[in-house]
C-alpha cells in the first residue's frame, strides 16, 4: 500500500528519431508535472485534487494536446474536452466543446460538484463556465503555430490527422494512411491513489487534428477515456473512436473486478489483446499502489512514481 501516481501526455507513433528540441521540453514537462503530483500526495492531498492539479499543469503546457496547444478543428478553432472521476464515490464530471476555458478539467470538476448533471457541452458548458467565474481566455491563448501548421498539412492531404509530434515530410502523403489506421498522439491524463486508498482519474484533450467541428472523442466519456472505482483508476489516450467503442477504461476495471485479474495483467490485456495495434495506451493505478502504463503504439509520453521511491519518465520502451 502507499500512494502512487501516473500521468501521460499522449500515445502515438512517436518516432524514435524525435529531435532533441522536441523531446526535451516534453520530458522536462512530464518530470515537472510528476513532481507536482508527488508533492501533493506527500502533503496528503486527496486523489481527486491531485489529478486535477496535475492535469491543469499538463493543459497549460503547449507541447501537449490539451488546453494550450490543443489541436485544431477543420475550421481552425479549438474545441476542448475533459472528464474527471472520483473512485470512492463514482462521482464524475465531463465537458466538451470548450473554446475559451483555460482548464477544461477544472470545469469538468465543477460540473460534477456544482450541477445536478454529469456532462455539459458546447454553448451550455461555456455559459456555465461564465457563471462559475472560471478562468477563460480567447482563442489566441490556446492556438500554437505548430498546430496551425499541422492543420494546414492535414488539409493539404485531405485527411483527419491524429496529432503527432513531428510535422509531415513534404510529399509523404502515401506514408500516412487515413484516419482509420493513422498515427496518433495527444490527450493528457493523470491517475492516482492517495495515502487513504482513494483513487481518481482525469483526462483532457483538444481532440484530433482537422476533426469535424462538434466531434467528441473518448476523453470526456466516462468508461471510455476515464474511469475510477475502488479498485483502480484509468486514463486512456490514442484513437478516440476505437477507445470509445471498446470502453477501454471501464474494461480494465471490469476485468479486475469480475475476473479478479491484477492491474498489470488487466491493463495489458485490454491494450494488447482488445485494441487494434497503434490505437491506444493508458496509465492506471490500483488501490494497492501498483502502476501500469501499457501502450500498443510506438511510444507514449508518460511518467509515474510510487511511495516506495520508484519513479520513471519515458517515451518508448526500455528495451
Amino acid at each position: 500500500m502507499g500512494w502512487a501516481i501516473a500521468l501521460h501526455g499522449g500515445a502515438g507513433d512517436i518516432p524514435l528519431s524525435l529531435p532533441l528540441e522536441s523531446r526535451q521540453p516534453r520530458e522536462e514537462a512530464l518530470r515537472r508535472c510528476l513532481q507536482i503530483g508527488v508533492e501533493a500526495l506527500k502533503a496528503k492531498k486527496p486523489s481527486l485534487d491531485v489529478v486535477e492539479l496535475v492535469v491543469r499543469e499538463l493543459e497549460n503546457i503547449p507541447q501537449f494536446n490539451a488546453g494550450k496547444g490543443s489541436v485544431l478543428t477543420n475550421k481552425g478553432t479549438v474545441e476542448m474536452e475533459a472528464s474527471i472521476m472520483d473512485g470512492s464515490t463514482k462521482n464524475c464530471g465531463a465537458v466538451s466543446g470548450l473554446k475559451t476555458v483555460v482548464n477544461a478539467v477544472s470545469l469538468a470538476r465543477l460540473v460534477m460538484e456544482k450541477t445536478p448533471h454529469v456532462y455539459l457541452a458546447f454553448d451550455g458548458a461555456e455559459e456555465f463556465a461564465k457563471e462559475q467565474g472560471i478562468e477563460t481566455a480567447d482563442s489566441s491563448h490556446f492556438i500554437t503555430a505548430e498546430n496551425v501548421e499541422r492543420l494546414k498539412q492535414a488539409n493539404e492531404a485531405h485527411r483527419v490527422q491524429l496529432d503527432y509530434t513531428q510535422p509531415l515530410q513534404n510529399g509523404s502523403k502515401e506514408e500516412r494512411p487515413n484516419a482509420n489506421g493513422d498515427v496518433q498522439l495527444g490527450t493528457v491524463g493523470c491517475v492516482s491513489v492517495d495515502s487513504y486508498g482513494n483513487l481518481a482519474a482525469a483526462t483532457s484533450t483538444g481532440g484530433l487534428v482537422n476533426k469535424r467541428v462538434g466531434r467528441i472523442g473518448d476523453s470526456p466519456i466516462i468508461g471510455a477515456g476515464t474511469y475510477a472505482s475502488e479498485l483502480c483508476a484509468v486514463s486512456c489516450t490514442g484513437k478516440g473512436e476505437a477507445i470509445l467503442c471498446a470502453t477501454v477504461a471501464r474494461d480494465v476495471a471490469a476485468m479486475m473486478e469480475f475476473k479478479g485479474v491484477p492491474l498489470e495483467e488487466a491493463a495489458s490485456y485490454v491494450i494488447h489483446e482488445c485494441m487494434p495495434k497503434g490505437t491506444a495506451g493508458l496509465v492506471a493505478v490500483s488501490a494497492a499502489g501498483e502502476v501500469a502504463m501499457p501502450y500498443n503504439t510506438t511510444g507514449m509520453f508518460r511518467a509515474c512514481a510510487t511511495e516506495d521511491g520508484y519513479s520513471e519518465v519515458a517515451i518508448w520502451s526500455a528495451s
Binding site: V118, G124, G214, C245, T247, R250
Partner: protein
C-alpha cells in the same frame, strides 16, 4: 440459423398515478413498434437495421421522450441525443444537442457509417445532418403542449427544492399536481417522466444491436448530455449481447450500466437474465434505472429498480409481452 429476439422500452420510472388512457396508449405504441420490428426480423433484416427502424418509429410518435415529444431544456427548447451500436464489430455512432433533426437515431447511424468519427454534437452534428441530407424541421416541431406544461411544473418544483437529490419516499410535496412522494432526479415522478426510448435486437445470424434516443431530462441546463448517447452507459452491443438503458442518467453513467451487463456476461460467465438482475440489483447504488437486453442466443431480458418501465419484448418462438409495472 438462430432465432431472433427483440425488446423495446419507453422509459423507466413511471408515475403510479398515470391515467389509464395514457397507459393504454403507451402499450399500443410499444405493441406497434414490436410488430414493426418483428416483421423486419421475419424478413431477415439485420439487427442494426431493425433497431434503427424501431427507434425511428418511437421518435416520430410524440408519446415518449424522444424526437417529437422530447422533454424541454430550461430554456424551453429541445436538444435531442441518441446512440446506436452494432455488436459484431463493436461499431458505434452517437449524437447530442440536435435541434432540427427529425430522427436523431438515423443521424447517429450516419455518424457511425459516413464519418470518420463516432460522436458528433451540437452545431457540428447539425452541419453534418445537412450535408447528409437527413430530414430537418424547426425546433417547434418537437415541442408538445404537454411538455410545455411539464416544464412549468418542473421549474416550480425546483424553485422549492434546494438540491436535486432528495431521498425517495420523502414526504415533501413540491407544488401543484404532486400526488405521490416518488421522486427521480430530484423531480416529482409526475413531472420527471424520463421516457427515453430504446430497442435491442438479436437477428437470426446471432448479431446483436442496440439503440437509444431521448430528449433528456426535463428542465435540464442547455448543453447537458445524459447517458443515452454515451456508449457503455446508455447503449452497448458486442458479440454477446445488446443493451439499452433508461432512468437517472447520472446513475447510469456512474455504473456504465450497459457495458456492465456485457462485462459480467463476459468476465463472470453469467447468463443474460442473471447479468441483468445482477446489474440492476448491485450496480446502481441509490440510483433508479431500467434496461432491456438481448443475447446472441436469442434470449431477451429486462430489469428495473424503480416502480415501472414501459417495455415490450418478443422472441421468434411466439413469446410476446408488453408491460409497464412489475
Amino acid at each position: 440459423m438462430g432465432a431472433w429476439a427483440i425488446a423495446v422500452h419507453g422509459g423507466a420510472g413511471v408515475d403510479p398515478n398515470l391515467p389509464l388512457q395514457r397507459q393504454e396508449e403507451a402499450k399500443q405504441l410499444l405493441t406497434r413498434c414490436l410488430n414493426l420490428g418483428i416483421s423486419a426480423l421475419n424478413s431477415n433484416l439485420s439487427a442494426i437495421d431493425v433497431v434503427e427502424l424501431v427507434v425511428r418509429e418511437l421518435e416520430t410518435d410524440p408519446l415518449f421522450n424522444s424526437g417529437r415529444g422530447s422533454a424541454l431544456t430550461e430554456k424551453g427548447t429541445v436538444e435531442m441525443e441518441a446512440s446506436i451500436m452494432d455488436g459484431p464489430k463493436r461499431r458505434c455512432g452517437a449524437v447530442s444537442g440536435l435541434t432540427t433533426v427529425k430522427n436523431p437515431i438515423s443521424l447517429a447511424r450516419l455518424v457511425m457509417e459516413k464519418s470518420p468519427h463516432s460522436y458528433l454534437a451540437f452545431s457540428g452534428a447539425e452541419d453534418f445532418a445537412r450535408q447528409q441530407g437527413v430530414e430537418v424541421v424547426d425546433n417547434e416541431y418537437f415541442i408538445t403542449p404537454e411538455n410545455v406544461g411539464m416544464l412549468k411544473l418542473a421549474k416550480e418544483a425546483n424553485a422549492i427544492l434546494f438540491d436535486y437529490r432528495i431521498p425517495n419516499g420523502c414526504e415533501t410535496t413540491c407544488g401543484a399536481n404532486v400526488e405521490s412522494p416518488l421522486h427521480m432526479n430530484g423531480l416529482p415522478i409526475s413531472v420527471y417522466a424520463p421516457e427515453t426510448v430504446g430497442c435491442v435486437v438479436v437477428d437470426r445470424e446471432g448479431r446483436c444491436a442496440a439503440a437509444t434516443s431521448t430528449g433528456g431530462l426535463m428542465n435540464k441546463m442547455t448543453g447537458r448530455i445524459g447517458d443515452s448517447p454515451l456508449i457503455g452507459s446508455g447503449t452497448y452491443a458486442c458479440d454477446l449481447c445488446g443493451v439499452s438503458c433508461t432512468g437517472e442518467g447520472e446513475a447510469i453513467i456512474r455504473a456504465t450500466l450497459a457495458r456492465e451487463v456485457a462485462a459480467v456476461m463476459e468476465y463472470k460467465g453469467l447468463g443474460l437474465q442473471e447479468a441483468v438482475d445482477f446489474c440492476i440489483k448491485t450496480r446502481l447504488d441509490d440510483g433508479k434505472a431500467g434496461l432491456i437486453a438481448v443475447s446472441k442466443n436469442g434470449e431477451v431480458a429486462y430489469g428495473f429498480n424503480c416502480n415501472g418501465m414501459f417495455r415490450g419484448c418478443a422472441t421468434e418462438n411466439g413469446f410476446m409481452e408488453v408491460g409497464i409495472w412489475e
